[in-house]
């Protein structure tokens, strides 16, 4: 296994506090929320695993070295689990079970092909097409499809929620402050955060 200190980006004589901080920073960076519906989610998960292992190893080494000393508790261990497309929502009754299972297994090309062959384009069709577009990174089209689905079947909470979520899912961490539409106080706050990030002060 590679050097656990290197994984966390700290030197081997760093204090417990520093290590905890570095760990938290990295855990926040690779948190599954930042990679939700992202095709690279598995790689982020691997990174997360590496970081967790490195942190555990360091803690173990240190607690062995000074037995009896207070152990730094991670608190977050194992709390992160990635939830992909296999939502419980997919268990509902569906007009397109194969397409849903193709999406759930990440085979978006197949799902797209199947969808294109369907003549009856109901709300669910638009909803599923939205998922396929989103996975391809065609965000603008995806939102359009989610919107149509939600409009065609306003009673369905799944469609309304996905439409709202897709519109919220803007930029991942630390950039929201730069997005033009955010309120002023928010921008100020995250500008400070970013300044802090870049200055390392």
């Amino acid at each position: 296994m590679s050097d656990p200190y290197k994984v966390l980006g700290v030197s081997s004589d760093a204090s417990d506090e520093e290590i905890k901080k570095a760990y938290r920073e990295l855990a926040r960076k690779y948190h599954p929320d930042n990679y939700h519906n992202n095709p690279l989610a598995d790689l982020a998960q691997e990174k997360m695993k590496e970081i967790n292992e490195a942190y555990d190893t360091i803690n173990k080494m240190r607690s062995q070295r000074n037995t009896g000393a207070s152990q730094a508790s991670r608190g977050t261990s194992g709390a992160y689990s990635y939830q992909g497309w296999s939502d419980q929502n997919y268990q509902r009754k569906s007009d397109f079970p194969e397409i849903r299972s193709a999406i759930a297994s990440g085979n978006f090309a197949l799902a797209e092909e199947l969808l294109k062959a369907v003549p009856n384009r109901n709300a669910e069709w638009n909803f599923l097409m939205g998922h396929v577009c989103y996975a391809k990174g065609w965000f603008n089209d995806a939102i359009e499809y989610f919107r149509i689905a939600a409009n065609m079947d306003p009673e369905n909470p799944e469609y309304a929620r996905t439409f709202a979520q897709a519109r919220q899912a803007g930029v991942s961490y630390s950039t929201t402050g730069f997005s033009v539409s955010s309120p002023e106080f928010c921008r100020l706050c995250s500008t400070l955060m970013c300044m802090n990030f870049f200055c390392r002060c």
């Binding site: 980006g9 990679y35 690279l40 065609w138 089209d141 997005s179």
Partner: protein
């Protein structure tokens, strides 16, 4: 549609600024050495970004000081052992510029096209060389641009389909650059390309309303006059651009740290959002003085 990917200089460390310049100057030298004098005019910030992205920790960053035509007195830092990525980036730049010039010639009147024709002639030699070296890529660029042209002819009213062609050109780079992590690079470059294409269209909305040139945003939202461009449309474009930017950031964070990591963070967390803000008002251009970018 180039030059959108740049750092925000006031937030760079002095060392980072020097390093950025060194890569820029080295790329300029490479262009001259490999593709001829005229090829230097295809130099732009986007390809500096590409080089920094592909920088590996075992590359040697030691520099020689050399003068150049633009700055004969204050010399610039040129990296001694240039990794292959310099030649590749330069070649891609030449190929893309060549196709862009051809496109401009087709779009403009005869008199206006004269300057483009001259530039095209000047870089033809470099283009032939690059085409030979990166045959597959050049073919891909050709076929993708033909598809893009088709989108333009049909006045395609979808942003994503048009952007996909351009984004595809960039993500193709990941398959020729090699060096592992192809999935990450492919995602990163795809969304960088998508972001560039849509930002470019965003910036040109007002101009294209006047000239009637194809603009996917104008088509998509059925914009007829400048007053039609409201906060709703801008909000939609901001959202979609931010989503791509989010993917760029998420992909980038999965790569190993190198000496350029913090410069790249400056670009993707500060520089690109700022460019977006300017494009929102149609105010971005390569010589923008209203932003503290480079020179």
């Amino acid at each position: 549609m180039f030059g959108y990917i740049r750092p925000y200089v006031p937030e760079l460390r002095l060392r980072e600024y020097e390093q950025y310049r060194a890569v820029y100057c080295t790329l300029c030298h490479t262009l001259r050495e490999t593709y001829g004098h005229a090829a230097r005019f295809t130099l732009n910030f986007d390809f500096v970004f590409l080089i920094m992205l592909y920088w590996q920790n075992d590359y040697d960053f030691s520099c020689n000081r050399r003068g150049c035509m633009r700055r004969p007195i204050s010399k610039c830092n040129i990296i001694k052992e240039k990794p292959d990525i310099f030649r590749l980036s330069g070649g891609l730049g030449v190929i893309l510029s060549y196709w862009k010039l051809k496109d401009e010639i087709k779009d403009s009147s005869f008199f206006k096209s004269i300057k483009y024709r001259l530039s095209l002639m000047a870089i033809r030699g470099g283009y032939k060389k690059a085409e030979k070296m990166y045959e597959k890529f050049s073919e891909n660029v050709n076929s993708r641009l033909l598809e893009l042209e088709k989108c333009e002819e049909d006045r395609m009213a979808t942003i994503d389909q048009a952007a996909d062609k351009f984004a595809g050109i960039l993500s193709d780079i990941s398959s020729i650059a090699g060096g592992g992590n192809e999935r990450i690079y492919s995602e990163l470059l795809y969304h960088t390309g998508r972001w560039i294409y849509i930002t470019d269209a965003y910036n040109d909305i007002y101009e294209d309303i006047d000239t009637g040139n194809y603009n996917p945003i104008v088509e998509k939202y059925g914009i007829k006059a400048k007053s039609d461009v409201d906060d709703y449309i801008k909000g939609e474009i901001d959202l979609t651009l931010n989503q791509s930017l989010g993917r760029v950031q998420a992909a980038f964070e999965l790569l190993d740290e190198t000496i350029f990591s913090d410069i790249i963070r400056n670009i993707i967390y500060i520089g690109m959002p700022l460019v977006m803000k300017l494009a929102r008002e149609g105010k971005f251009n390569n010589t923008s003085e209203n932003i503290n970018f480079l020179e």
